[in-house]
């Protein structure tokens, strides 16, 4: 070791993270470790709880339903979020502030209030049902996967718009001018120049929204129905109704592993911006404004 031993710990800075580490250890690592031991050790060491996930005929159905819902929510969020974030980069500061507030208002509103609002909107006799009844269609989206998807898309939209806005606002628009000046069609210029530069923000948003969707509990539990449970509801049911702590732990670990795998896989497409790094980074893969 080249350094003298007493310099191995840069003490003052290191102490600063101690409270956060201690908190994480207590609220994250201890319960997580407990889940892990529950899932393989009840009462003797076994992998039965994991094999049961694949053979009980229920878990895979619910996982597939969850993955499908999360995919749709993510697609809806990017389709709505991308043009919105783009617009935010193109308007004046006052309008941008307004657009930002519109995105953030759901953030500031209690998640329960938002979900109960969706119940009122989607339930029988609510505005959506009444509207479709005008055309003779008694459509009730409350307690359906479609209703859950709509509500989740709204709740999760900020997680798409914010990283996208941060990525898009770092893109130097003079590159587009240069492309046009060299004879490129606007659409070609977008695809060849703008889109690749925005991809990091898109991936960050996709990862955030998708992983949050995978574990979303409140909206499916309130707006959805037990018949169309998503994985978080299944977890709730296994712990609170069935008292199957080992089975629930195994399911929780499985979902965690799937989420981590997806994040690390998707991370490769995000360049230097990612779900993990988005808050800290300015898009270094985008040209900086002061480039000549």
């Amino acid at each position: 070791m080249a350094d003298p031993p007493q310099r191995r710990i840069p003490s003052p800075q290191w102490l600063l993270v101690l409270p956060a580490l201690a908190l994480l250890a207590v609220i994250l690592l201890v319960p997580l470790g407990r889940s892990l031991t529950y899932s393989v050790d009840a009462p003797a060491w076994t992998l039965d709880h994991y094999t049961a996930l694949f053979t009980d005929g229920v878990t895979l159905t619910v996982l597939a339903r969850t993955a499908l819902t999360a995919t749709i929510v993510t697609i809806v969020a990017v389709l709505l979020g991308y043009p919105y974030a783009y617009l935010m980069t193109r308007v004046g500061p006052r309008l941008r502030g307004l657009l930002m507030v519109i995105v953030l208002v759901p953030f500031w509103t209690s998640v329960m209030a938002r979900n109960f609002a969706w119940i009122i909107i989607l339930q029988r006799g609510g505005p959506v049902n009444s509207f479709f009844k005008l055309f003779g269609w008694d459509l009730v989206l409350y307690e359906s996967v479609a209703g859950v998807t709509i509500a989740m898309s709204q709740v999760l939209l900020p997680f798409m718009v914010l990283p996208l806005f941060s990525a898009l606002s770092g893109i130097d628009r003079r590159l587009l001018l240069a492309a046009r000046g060299l004879g490129s069609h606007p659409i070609t210029a977008f695809w060849k120049i703008y889109w690749p530069l925005s991809r990091g923000g898109v991936v960050a948003g996709l990862i955030l929204v998708f992983t949050l969707s995978l574990g979303f509990y409140v909206t499916p539990a309130l707006v959805g129905s037990p018949q169309q449970s998503l994985v978080a509801q299944l977890l709730g049911q296994r712990t609170t109704q069935l008292l199957d702590f080992p089975g629930a732990s195994a399911l929780g670990i499985l979902v965690l592993v799937v989420s981590l795998a997806l994040v690390s896989w998707a991370n490769r497409f995000g360049g230097t911006i990612s779900a993990i790094g988005v808050a800290a980074s300015t898009p270094t893969n985008a040209p900086t404004k002061d480039r000549p």
């Binding site: 101690l18 201690a22 009980d56 339930q123 129905s225 018949q227 449970s229 609170t240 069935l242 199957d244």
Partner: protein, 353 residues
Amino acid sequence: MPTPRRALTVLSATMMTAVLAACGGQTAAVNPDGDVTLTFTAYGGAGQEAMINAYQKPYTAAHPNVTFTNTSPPDLAQVKAQVMSKNVTWDVVALAPAAAEQNCGTLFEELDFSGVDKTNLVEGTVGKCYIANWINANPIAYRTSAYPATAAPKTPADFFDLQKFPGKRGLLTNVQNGLLEYALLADGVAPDAMYPLDVDRALKKLDTIKSVTTFAPNVGALQQAVGANQVDVFVLPDSRLVPLLDAGTDLTICWDTTVTALNGFGVPKGSPKAEAARRFLETLVTTDDVEAISEALGTAPINKAAKPELSDNAKKVEVYGPVNTGKTVQQDVGWYASNFDAVTTKVNNWLVG
């Protein structure tokens, strides 16, 4: 001067101590004759309010050393977590008697009710690990405005007939509210040939209405759905029908075949106040307590000597009264006691699949 490493050691030691203290060991038993505060866990809402007035206040008046704190809901997973961590904070928990019997001695204390006079008590009132406090009738009922009087559902079979009686169904996911029994009745099983339950047959029948049914996780949620016109025809216990009727909801009850079930209380295993809790639970079957709770909630008395003075709305749900012109099926605690966990798992897996 402490190095950061030593600070970390001290910190971890402190944390470990805190964690160990929180996990606790077996707490010493509390003297039932001294000052005791029992933590009473029931279903919340108006029902628990009624229990406070009918059970707790008279008991504290007679036994000034015993007071109560109230909490809800009586989640079995909570009980399990408390028992596993040897940190039992609930002393009295409302439950399905079968849940207590199946987990007797593991999650729930064995209780000595040999001093209770059983002469006038309904069969099954006293178990090894529970005492029942009332009988719930879980009749099929519908919002009167949802069906014309000439074409309204009347029987369990009608409840499952989507052609003749369209509309949104409401059921509770708890097996103690007659979910499986009604499916079998509708499928042609005779009321007296119900047990042992053919669970697969019941679920197959339930499949036929699964897509038009709101499965509520608790009685409060279903009561709310009825009140908000979200379901048309449903199975709801009497104790929740009375508040709806009191609130002015127009309901019709289908007295054809009605499933009844006992509701009981147990004491989580390892409660340091188990003896005080047991003494309190004994009083729940006295005529005074039974009359008071029936008058408040419309539940059927567990003690045949009790003569509650029922309100008009409570009389409308009186399963052993003149209003019931049909039959009753009482849930078999014995059968459920050996099958409660397995059936609950099966029903829940069916539900989410």
